[in-house]
Every structure is written in C-alpha cells, then in structure tokens.
C-alpha cells in the first residue's frame, strides 16, 4: 500500500496494478476523483425514476469539472474544494519548515520495532470484541506482530481473516508495550485489499461503497427525503442484501433536509470573532449530512465560550476507508483535509472534531499511515470537542453556574471504542456527574459491535449484534430511555438494538449551558 503514498510515485510497481483505478501513476492529480471510480451512485439510488441516474452522474461530472450548474454549487457548499496536495499559503506554517519524515523507506512501513515489542501477553486478544464471538478470527496478536513477521519477505499472502478485524482499536488500548497493533492491521488490510482482493467482486464493491460513505451521503442529501425513503424501501433493501451483501435488518440513517454546511452558510458563518480563541470544526460526514444538530450544538457551545468557529472545507476523515483497506481513497481525502486544516492552524486555530473516530483518525491514523506536509501538526492540534473545553475552560464550573437543563434528563451513555483510545471514555459521565437534573449512566465498557461499516456487512451482521448484546442489555437496565454517545455508527447500533433515540454529548452540553 505504501507504494502509492510516495508523493512522486517513484516507488510504484505499476506493472502489476491492473485494477483500473485510473489515476495516472506519476501524474500528480491527487484529490481529484475519477468519475466512475470514486463515486458510484447508481447502486445506492434505486432506479425507480425518483433520482435519475443521469442526475447523479451529472453531479459527479460537474464536480470533477468544477462546473457551474446547481449540483456543483451545492457540492461546493458541501465541503469540498477538490484540491491538490501539500503546502499552505499560511505565513505561520511554512511548508519548507517541515521535515517530512520518511516513514516509508524502501516502500514498506518499518514496523519491526512494534513487532519486537510484543511479549505475547495476549492482552490484545482478551480485549478483542470480535475474537470473543468469532472463533474463526485469530485475534489481534496474530493480525499484528505475527502476521507482520510472516509477510516480511513477501512470500506469504495476507490471511483473509484480516477483513474480519473491525478496526475498533481496543487492542491498542490494551497493549502494555505500545505495539502499534492498529497500524499493523491497517497496513496488512491495505495490502490484502490491494494485492489479493478481487476488484470486481461484490465484496470489494460493497466495501468500497460503504467506505466512501461521504460520496453516497452527498448525493443522497441532494434529495434527502427521497433518499431516506428509497434507501429504506423494502424491495430495494431486499435487493441490496441479495446483490450487495448489505443486511436488510439495518435502517439507513435519515438524511437531513438542510446539511450542517448549508445551515452554516445560511447563518452567515461565525457569530463570534476572536483571533485569540479560534477553532476549526471538523464536522465529518455524519454531522453534516445526517445529524446537523450535533454540528449546530458544537457551534453554539463554542460560541458560548467565546470561540471563533471556522468551518474549513473538508472531506471524509478516512475512518471507514481504513477499516476496509481502502488506503488510496483515505489518502486522497486526507490531502484535502490536511491542507485546509493546516491552513486554519496557521491562522491560530486548533482543530475540533465532534466524532471520536474522526478525531482518532486525524490524531493517530493520519501520521501513522501518510506522510503529507503538515500531517504531524494537524495531529498535534486536533482534539475532541468536549475534551478541548475540559482542558481550556472551566467547563464544570460553567455547568454548575448554568444550573442544568430546563427538563430533567436521564441518559444511557456508551463510550465508543475510539473514544476509549483517546482517554475520553469517561469524560461525558464525569462532566455531567454534578449537573442538576442530569443523570448519565455508563452502560459499561463493551463494544457496540458495529465498528463503523463492519456491522453493515451481511456476513458480519450477526456477529455485530452479538457483540452489541451486552450494551443493549445494559441500556435497557439503565434508568434513562435516551441513549448518548459521540460516535455516529455506535449511535446507529444503539438505536437499532434498543429503539432509543440517541444524542451526542454536545447536545446535552448545549441544553445544560443554555447555549
């Protein structure tokens, strides 16, 4: 996988690469999706005439060509300058001042040190939610250090079981030796997908679609009501399961009629200007297309504390792409994100994410997997939304002074695995512990089981629900009948398993502060 990450493409072995990705090797055009590869709307939008194929194609073409029709204008508000790599115009952050670390000498990540640090205590295996329900899955110790040794000389295929790893990253948190397990898994998965996975297989196409959620979400949110209906329309779902392996039990999330970015634009952007306290909001795809109320809560809470909020152009954080081994896709999106967020950092901002998987990706997976200019700065300047306030503001004092929300609230809180790895698993419970009229109950340390796109695969659906069972039970036992979590896909799983409505802690914070 790393062959494709060199800026100049010099280390590539293009001869074997016949998957027709279409990106000219050696021709630097990253960031510009190729029509027909990056976006495959026809699968997600049923051919019932509501959303003519031609519209979708038109949107994609016009975007690629930066054309001027409606769809393109809409796409522009939705995030995305399609941009080239590297650098920033900022005067504070001079690209020349970066010393890009050559993390891929000779073409592969050197993970020997990580492999050598493993002393086989199996703490990773006992923390793995997949190994607990699936004995066909050999566990993180095998997937990480052991597989790394096996494949070093290139004469061993990557074991197919790597695709059963859900990338929850609990093994990282468990390892007392700081073996970079998830980095090893990401690398092995990327190699497996690139070298061993049949590119015309239904599984590959399905995974690519799931991984590129932003693409489908953007198209769907052009016709949000239609898409919300059509994607959950019985016969269409039956067909999706049969043809694509997307389990019909799951409900697709509803698309907002007004995306967060549309709201932001209509609002006229930031209401607070403050060059001393600036944050750049990385809303991610879900807060933009599906739950803009989370993004609005972020803006209101931060403005309450006197921050100037910036909303730079951005694409997918890459989380679903890592989990599906689509590292090229992730890198393409990372280029846009790094460029725009580093520019904001140059203007004095720290980067704030409301989704714990987005913050995880920007902080850990980006610098582990890609060597883009400024990527380390981005990692160092990225925080989760509540984490940042807890560090920089007297959040608990402010909550105390505000006196709590208007109505009593009881919530069953689930800490996402990726929050756990950032040390954030308990912050929501602690922050609201002393707030009048709010009861937040931790439903335990089990994994929700969905792990982003994992639970969206037909063959993984049952495992996913089995992993989630403990959480469902604890939610039922908890006093509250509203769930709360930071992660959008955990929220889907919580809702799916219990029927509860699910909130984000920022929304409760907004309520409690009267922001």
């Amino acid at each position: 996988m790393t062959r494709h990450t060199d800026d100049d493409g010099s280390a590539e072995e293009s001869s074997e690469d016949d998957r027709g990705n279409g990106r000219g090797r050696g021709e630097p055009a990253p960031g510009v999706p190729e029509a027909g590869r990056d976006e495959q709307p026809s699968i997600f939008v049923p051919d019932d005439g509501e959303v003519p194929e031609s519209d979708a194609v038109g949107a994609r073409d016009s975007e690629a060509a930066a054309g001027g029709d409606d769809a393109a204008a809409r796409a522009a508000t939705d995030g995305g300058v399609e941009s080239a790599t590297g650098g920033t115009d900022s005067t504070d952050l001079d690209p020349d001042a970066y010393d890009p670390v050559d993390v891929f000498p000779g073409g592969d990540l050197d993970l020997r040190e990580g492999a050598d640090s493993c002393y086989k205590c199996t703490s990773c295996d006992t923390s793995c939610p997949v190994a607990e329900v699936d004995d066909e899955f050999p566990g993180p110790k095998f997937q990480g250090p052991e597989q790394w040794r096996l494949k070093r000389k290139g004469d061993h295929d990557i074991d197919e079981s790597i695709t059963s790893c859900s990338n929850c990253m609990r093994c990282d948190d468990a390892c007392p030796s700081s073996v970079p397990l998830s980095q090893m898994h990401n690398e092995a998965r990327g190699q497996f997908v690139e070298r061993q996975m049949e590119k015309l297989s239904v599984e590959y196409i399905r995974n690519r679609l799931l991984a590129n959620y932003r693409t489908s979400a953007r198209l769907a949110s052009m016709f949000p009501r239609t898409a919300s209906f059509a994607m959950n329309f019985g016969p269409a779902r039956w067909a999706m399961e049969k043809v694509m392996g997307i389990p019909k039990e799951r409900d697709f999330p509803e698309f907002a009629t007004e995306t967060f970015r549309e709201w932001w634009k209509a609002r006229g952007g930031a209401k607070v200007e403050n060059p001393d306290k600036r944050v750049a909001y990385f809303h991610g795809c879900y807060s933009n297309y599906n739950t803009p109320e989370v993004g609005k809560a972020m803006v209101r809470v931060y403005e309450h504390f006197g921050y100037e909020v910036m909303v730079p152009p951005q694409k997918c954080s890459g989380t679903p792409m890592f989990a599906n081994g689509m590292l090229d896709d992730a890198r393409r999106h990372a280029e846009t994100n790094v460029e725009n967020l580093v520019e904001a950092i140059g203007e004095g901002a720290d980067v704030i994410a409301s989704c714990t998987s987005c913050s995880m990706s920007l902080r850990q997976e980006y610098p582990e997997l890609f060597d883009l200019h400024g990527i380390e700065d981005l990692a160092e300047h990225t925080f989760e939304a509540m984490e940042y306030l807890r560090i920089h503001e007297d959040l608990e004092g402010e909550l105390d002074a505000a006196g709590g929300p208007d109505e009593e609230r009881e919530l069953a809180y689930h800490a996402p695995c990726h929050a756990r790895n950032q040390g954030l698993a308990r912050q929501a419970v602690e922050t609201f512990r002393d707030v009048d009229g709010v009861t937040v109950e931790d439903v335990g340390d089990s994994c929700s089981g969905i792990s982003g796109t994992y639970g969206w695969k037909e063959e993984k659906y049952e495992k996913s629900m089995e992993i989630g069972e403990e959480m469902f039970e604890h939610m039922e036992d908890a006093e509250g009948d509203v769930g709360m979590t930071e992660c959008p896909t955990c929220a889907m799983q919580m809702e799916h398993g219990t029927g509860y409505e699910i909130e984000h802690p920022l929304q409760l914070l907004e309520d409690s502060l009267g922001a």
């Binding site: 703490s123 295996d125 923390s127 030796s177 160092e380 340390d445």
Partner: protein, 459 residues
C-alpha cells in the same frame, strides 16, 4: 488551565486502585490516569501477601569477577527460601529492613487486605484467617496466597478430596495430565488425575479463551447442545479416573477446569456444571490471558466508580510540568502528541516495576520516567544481577525508596517532593516474584500512599 483534582493517581493496577479508593475514603477528590487498560487482566487474580522469605545471602561467598554468561563455572549457591509460610504476618520481621512491609508496617498489609475484602466482596475468599491458603496454579505449582477467587475455592491443596483436572487438546499451554502429575509430585494430600476431553474441539483450534467463556456465559449451542451441558457431558466419562494409592477407584468429588468458566456469568456456569457432574467445580488460575484477572479488573474499576473516583485510560503521564517549593503542581499528560497539564495537591505514583514499565532501563542505568525519582542501583551494571537465575537478584529489588509515608527519597534519604507518594511495583526493596508478595506490597503501600496523599491534599 489544568484538569484538577485533590489527588492524582498515576497507574491502573492493584496499587493504583487501592491508593485511589483509600484516598477517596479519606474525603479527597481523586482522579486516576492509566496509560493503558489495566494490567490486572494479565494477573492470575490471586492476591498473595507473603509466601516465602528468600535468602539474601548466598550459601557460599559469590565468586569475584565478571559473570560466566551461563557457563556454570563455579556456580552460585543459594539456600532454599523459607516457606511456604503458613502466616505471612509473623514472617515480616525476617525480611530485609528496606522491604516495603518493614517500612509500611504489618498493619498496612492488614488494612490493605481488609480494603481488598471490602471491594472484592463475595467474589473472593480467604479473609476469614491470617493464614495463607495453598492454591494449585496453572503448571502444577501450589502457591501460598492470602486471598483467592471464590471460583478457585474447591481446588485448595489443603482439601483431601480426590480431584479430576480437565484439559482440552486445543488449549496447548495447559496439559491436564502433566498438571495432575506435578501436583502429586508436589506432595498434595489428595489423589488427582488429568483428563483431556472433547469440548473446545468444537471451536477453532486457536479460539481465544474469551470466546469459550462467552459461549459458556450465554450457554450457546455447540453442535446443537447448549455449551454447559456439552461440557458436562464431555467430562462425565472421566469422573472415575482417579486411582488412589492402593489401586482403588474413587468417584471424584471435585473437578478443576482451566479458568475460562464464563466471564460475567461465572457463578452460574460453575453451579450448573457442579449440578450436572455431581461434584464441586473449581477453576485453576492461569497466566495471561487470564479471565480471573479480567474479572478482578472489572470489579475494581466498578468500585472506583462507586467510590466517586474519576478515571481515564489511554494517555500516559509523561513528566512533571511544573513544580515549586519542593512540590509538584502539575504533571504533563500526553494526549496523542500534545500534552495537557493535570494539576493536583498530591500525587500517587503507581506505575509498576520493570515489567510494568514504571521503571525504565538501558545499559546506562535504571530510572523512573514520570517524576525522575531516585532509583538506588549499583553503578556497575554487572552488579545488577547474580549468575543464578533464582538467586537474590539485585535488579528484582530496584525501585524508588520510600519513607514511612511512602514519599520517595533521594540518595541522602531526603524527601524528593513533599506531595508525591509511591505505591506498588515502582517501590523497591521487595523481590515480589520469589517472595510471592506482589499483591500484598501493592495493597500495603497503596493504602498508605492513598491515605497520606489525601492528608497532604486536604490539610
């Protein structure tokens, strides 16, 4: 601004939890920060106090000169350790003066065990007496221990009822027949037999023990039969395997399994198996992966929550950020590349020893990386160890040196920071592996450090 609390405990193991709870019970607002998920999950789940008093002087003077690199020329000779001890408390006076038990006092050990009993509740046994229990462990050794999981109760070596030890072919690190043989060789007062049965074969050969535990928890069907019933059926034909000294065959009255009989539902799993087999059922504590350790971790972290302790895992404390007038004000927590200050009026360091990475070492020396506390050690690296692997290894006793309040002192015996306390493996002076004292040292130093930190913070 800093994230603050009265007391900040650094670490996530038994000592850290003990210190955090005891500080909270003194009225302090406590926060615990652990770099990784608790290493209790690697622990056997047994709570030892003092099983042996090892010799600190060799049987004959050590040879001068460089080590022989295992060539065994003129080998060291060390007397056998004293033990297994019946009563850990009465032996404390025979430990070296620098031992944490000598510094904290035997009352600290007693208080620590009392606190543990309170936190562990009915999941643990042994609190009724000062005396050690002898628990057979994975590998066939018998370990003197002060407290043991209820799940291990029917397996005590002092019990003279015949025992069947069950194993599984797929569980390669655990050989039931070898285990039973070693128990008999160790001179236990009961007859034992090992049997390898067909059960885990329904799972893939390298299925994790958490997988088997989960299947038993949920009583999942294994080839159409509920898991608990399937396991009982697999064991039943072996209930008459034990042959006593005179060739007679007894039906066994107790059956030992590797410790994977369920995770959350362990008690129900054992009860059902016992009923189906008509014999008591016990678990044999294992090395990692260790379900007894995981269960203990869950229980203790639930206790932290119940005591109002704030805790977080995932980010390491990497150093002192600010200190003044001999007191630490804030430490730096590395949050994925950027450090954030954590302030407290008192700090407890409970990061573990050389294995737990609370001590760091290279060829130049051994150091304590968080507060850079003094670690007593010979200058010459060749004096860190002796040739005999089982001898009195100086490195085993490396660690910070505490005063009677558990405040680390420097080479001259002066307190390094007025408000920094240490507990557990990072404290030097004990040879926990030979003494079988790791848990007791954590409890005794943890309770002193926690109380003293609370006093320091709230005075």
């Amino acid at each position: 601004m800093a994230i603050t609390s009265d007391v900040l405990v650094v670490g996530g193991g038994l000592a850290a939890v003990t210190a955090a709870v005891s500080a909270a019970r003194e009225g302090a607002d406590v926060r615990l920060v652990s770099h990784k998920a608790s290493t209790l999950r690697q622990a056997s789940g047994l709570i030892d106090a003092l099983g042996y008093v090892p010799a600190t002087e060799p049987a004959k003077p050590l040879r001068d000169g460089p080590p022989t690199a295992g060539r065994n020329l003129d080998p060291d000779e060390w007397p056998d350790p004293e033990g297994p001890l019946a009563d850990p408390f009465e032996a404390i006076d025979r430990l070296p003066e620098s031992h944490p038990y000598r510094i904290a006092g035997s009352d600290a050990l007693r208080d620590g065990l009392d606190l543990f009993d309170d936190l562990a509740g009915d999941a643990y046994r042994g609190g009724h007496t000062d005396r050690n229990a002898l628990v057979p462990t994975f590998g066939g050794a018998v370990k003197p221990t002060a407290r043991y999981p209820a799940a291990a109760e029917a397996g005590l070596a002092s019990d003279d009822r015949p025992a069947l030890i069950v194993g599984f072919r797929s569980l390669t690190e655990y050989d039931a027949r070898a285990f039973a043989g070693r128990l008999e060789a160790a001179g236990v007062p009961f007859d034992a037999a090992g049997a390898e049965v067909e059960f885990a074969e329904a799972f893939r050969a390298d299925a994790k023990i958490t997988r088997v535990a989960k299947a038993l928890d949920h009583d999942e069907e294994i080839d159409g039969v509920p898991a608990r019933e399937a396991l009982a059926k697999a064991v039943a034909p072996h209930l008459h395997d034990v042959v006593d000294g005179s060739g007679g065959v007894d039906r066994v009255e107790r059956v030992g399994f590797p410790a994977f009989l369920g995770d959350d539902e362990g008690e129900a799993v054992r009860a059902e198996l016992a009923e189906r087999l008509g014999a008591d059922v016990f678990e044999i504590p294992m090395g990692p992966p260790s379900l007894p350790g995981l269960r203990l971790e869950d229980r203790l972290f639930d206790a932290l929550d119940a005591e109002g302790v704030r805790f977080e895992t995932g980010n390491p404390v990497v150093g002192v950020e600010s200190a003044a007038d001999g007191r630490v004000e804030t430490v730096a927590v590395d949050r994925k590349g950027r450090t954030a200050p954590y302030g407290a009026d008192a700090f407890v360091l409970a990061t573990g020893g050389l294995v737990g990475k609370g001590l760091d070492s290279d060829r130049e020396g051994v150091r304590e990386p968080v507060f850079d506390l003094f670690v007593d050690q010979p200058d010459d690296r060749y004096e860190w160890f002796v040739d005999d692997a089982f001898g009195d290894q100086p490195y085993a006793r490396f660690g910070v040196r505490p005063d009677e309040r558990m405040r680390p002192v420097d080479g001259d015996g002066a307190v390094q920071y007025e408000n920094v306390f240490a507990a557990g493996g990072v404290v030097g002076g004990a040879d926990a592996a030979r003494e079988k004292s790791a848990s007791g040292v954590s409890l005794a130093t943890g309770i002193v450090a926690g109380r003293q930190a609370a006093t320091e913070a709230t005075q």
